[in-house]
């Protein structure tokens, strides 16, 4: 142990390596409900070369390596299942480049979404990226690694679809560039028209390599932004409402939420529609188009637009949305977790009813939230439960509810988003065997020793 600590200290400096009980305890768990497992060491590298040296050293010593951003997946993706070295990436936090004309940024692998948001606000007020609702500490690399979603997902797909290039350290320690940046210093495409190799890394949770740089597409930022909420009391109307709104192509983002408390929200489904404009004329035009698109639902008394108070409007327009985090304290208990499958939007009604059923069955407070992905091609539906971390019985009930939600989601055609190890296992079991075999080939070829975030996407057999 002492020798390994010494070796790591020679790479990153002794103040940036710890094998002490406090770091091992803290980095062995996340805010979610997955069982803890401690790393043996935590390191905070500052350079690509340092990470290469760590990975090469780990390879020689056959020690697992788990790259980590802010650790906010809630599904235990950076809990080191087999111990080893947790590589906390957050010291690598520089914004390396913003190409305003070509609308992309290049950031280091530990740069937070908050930092890029602030940087663009200050220096490039006409540009934005798809900021997620996760806390501002969330790193961009981790967010695209888990196929995160954000404010522009309704228009442009998963945040990982907006990647414009990657720099990756392979399990061998070799450095590899993916996309246009492999041929030049231009980071405008992660693959096309070349073979898109980004799929060897995105969605793998670090099991095939460590992202040290990410190119990210930026998008026009309009001067004005507003939000309206359409309410219906039946989940059955939600897919149709979403179809009509997406048909207008006027919305920036579309979220849906349903929750029993406070009572003002009970028994209703709230379709939150964001839209933007360069001026009031554009904003009003979009708003009118969205309103008119839902005329039929209003005429049939199936729903209507809700009056939004200024306080609520401010909360909804907040980016990143801090209020999303405060769901963790509804039970004064510091926790929430969700099973968030990606589903076709026509499955919203049944998922919504299942969530109601699970909340009653397990006596839990819940929040259904959904986000439209890519003009309605799919949506993320979160079976979200808040829990009291100090209440062991509630923790167990929440685990059971989440497990049941996951099985249900898979049964209705959903794909797990940022799946826990259990969800990965049941997804692999259901997967076309040839597809699973291909994943196994990729993993074994890239990481023959199996040292990279072991436990994740391990195809049995």
């Amino acid at each position: 142990m002492e020798n390994i600590t010494q070796a790591l200290a020679e790479i990153v400096g002794k103040t940036y390596v710890s094998g002490q009980a406090e770091e091992r305890w803290f980095y062995g768990r996340d805010s979610g409900l997955m069982p803890a497992h401690q790393p043996d060491y935590v390191v905070l590298p500052r350079t690509v070369e340092e990470i290469q040296a760590i990975v090469r050293f780990a390879g020689r010593e056959n020690i697992p390596v788990v790259p980590m951003g802010a650790g906010m997946s809630l599904s235990g993706l950076v809990i080191p299942q087999k111990g080893g070295i947790v590589v906390d990436m957050k010291r690598m936090d520089r914004i390396l480049k913003v190409n305003e004309t070509a609308r992309y940024a290049v950031v280091e692998g530990g740069t937070s979404t908050g930092a890029l948001h602030a940087h663009l606000n200050r220096h490039y007020p006409r540009l934005r990226f798809s900021i997620p609702d996760s806390p501002a500490t969330t790193t961009i690399a981790a967010n695209v690694m888990i196929h995160g979603q954000g404010r522009l997902t309704q228009q442009y797909g998963f945040n990982s679809d907006m990647v414009s290039g990657l720099e990756v350290i392979l399990p061998s320690g070799e450095l590899c560039r993916i996309g246009s940046c492999a041929l030049s210093d231009d980071w405008f495409s992660k693959g096309p028209p070349l073979p898109d190799l980004s799929g060897l890394f995105l969605g793998w949770f670090g099991a095939t390599g460590i992202l040290t740089k990410v190119g990210l597409k930026l998008y026009p930022r309009k001067k004005m932004r507003d939000v309206e909420i359409f309410i219906t009391d039946s989940p059955d109307f939600v897919p149709g409402i979403l179809y009509e709104i997406t048909h207008t192509e006027m919305a920036e983002d579309i979220n849906i939420f349903a929750q029993p408390l406070p009572l003002i929200f009970k028994d209703n489904h709230h379709i939150v529609v964001y839209f933007t404009g360069e001026d009031l004329e554009e904003l009003d035009f979009k708003k009118k188009k969205i309103f008119h698109a839902l005329d039929g639902f209003i005429r049939n008394k199936d729903g209507g637009f809700m009056t939004i108070g200024e306080g609520m409007r401010k909360t909804l327009l907040d980016m990143p949305q801090r209020s999303a985090t405060t769901f963790a304290d509804v039970t004064r208990g510091g926790g929430f977790e969700y099973s968030g499958p990606i589903i076709p939007i026509d499955r919203y009604p049944q998922c919504s009813r299942k969530l109601d059923e699970l909340a009653v069955k397990y006596d839990l407070k819940y929040h259904a939230t959904a986000r439209v992905i890519g003009r309605g091609h799919a949506m993320m539906f979160a079976f979200s439960f808040t829990f009291n971390r100090a209440d062991a019985d509630m923790l167990e009930r929440t685990r059971k509810a989440l497990h049941e939600a996951s099985e249900y989601a898979l049964s209705v055609g959903g794909l797990f988003w940022k799946p826990t190890l259990d969800e990965q296992r049941i997804a692999l079991a259901k997967m076309d065997p040839q597809t699973a075999k291909l994943m196994k080939m990729i993993k074994e070829n890239l990481d023959p020793q199996g040292i990279m975030n072991p436990g994740n996407w391990e195809v049995p057999g």
Partner: protein, 386 residues
Amino acid sequence: MKYADIVHRCFRCGYCKFTSDYENFNCPSYRKYRFDTFAPGGRMWLIRAWLTGEIENSERFQEILYSCATCGSCVEHCAFTFREDLVNIFIAAREEMVNSGRIPPAVRDYFKAISIHGNPYNLPAAERAAWAENLPVESYNGQEYLFYVGCVGSYDERGRKMAQAVSRLLSKAGVSFGILGEQEPCDGNEVRVLGEAGLFQFLAENNIALFRERGVKKIITLDPHAFNAFTKDYPEFGGDFEVRHYSQVLVDLIESGKLKPKAFAAKATFHDACYLGRHGGEYKAPRKILRAIPGIELVEMDQNRENALCCGGGGGNFFTDILGGDADSPNRIRVRQARETGAELLIVSCPQCAKMLEDAIKAEGLENCLTVMDAGELLDASIHED
């Protein structure tokens, strides 16, 4: 432990680490160490682990708890309703450590010095008023104000200069004030935040009794830390004095025409002291002083007011130096931020900040382009111009 019913409520989302615009991390200990364990969320989770017996009170745990500068940035930026208690929770955990008898040696030595000598410098009380030699400063004897200088202003060379400047200004403006001199006790603010609740209570009760005995009704403090103790904590023990930080008094004296600043040409930036700003809610007074001086061009650092980065001296770190030592120490980061503004003067309103930042300027090799001045010193210098 007090607040044990709250520690499990932290989600470790990390908002506490940031500035309001998310551009920078603003927790001084996290800026230095960069392990999440040294951020407020890390402390919350580790305190709970300690209370449940999952980790021990180790040297590392002590370093984590005692590197908190109690600057209040986490209180300002946490997303949850219990945020007001964050610093109180860390202090409560320190109290538990003190009660268990296992604390860092530097903290133990601090308490010992206060207990034996009444000051952290292990110096005799007789030297407490040395700063006032050759100044027309009277002993307190029923004047309108007690000018409470505090340990740093009394003993530290840098602090003494501030005390001298402020007393000159008060005298020039005709303010009726006196000092307690060698009878002046330690205010105890750092004793409290380092976790020695019993010693703090002893100091507070004795000081309140002394102030009453001497007929003190109004107090001007040099040090925002004393300002904090007198306004926030002494009332709990019956101390109901009218307390003002010297910057607030100087503003009144300027506005009433009793002090007339003269031209002093310089580009200056202002560093908010945590115990005056975030804890005391006073961001305006020092800036009003600067704006009242003709020729001063005030330029703000990006991180200012509620987003100001602590100098790293709070929470007792001024004396224990747990946060010091390298280029990522908050005082060194702070002087680099000041330098980025192009200012030649870095203005402070706290003797601890003055010392911390002056040391950092030397460590950064910026002596030729950046000078620390207290707002009182600057005003004194401008008036002295004639």
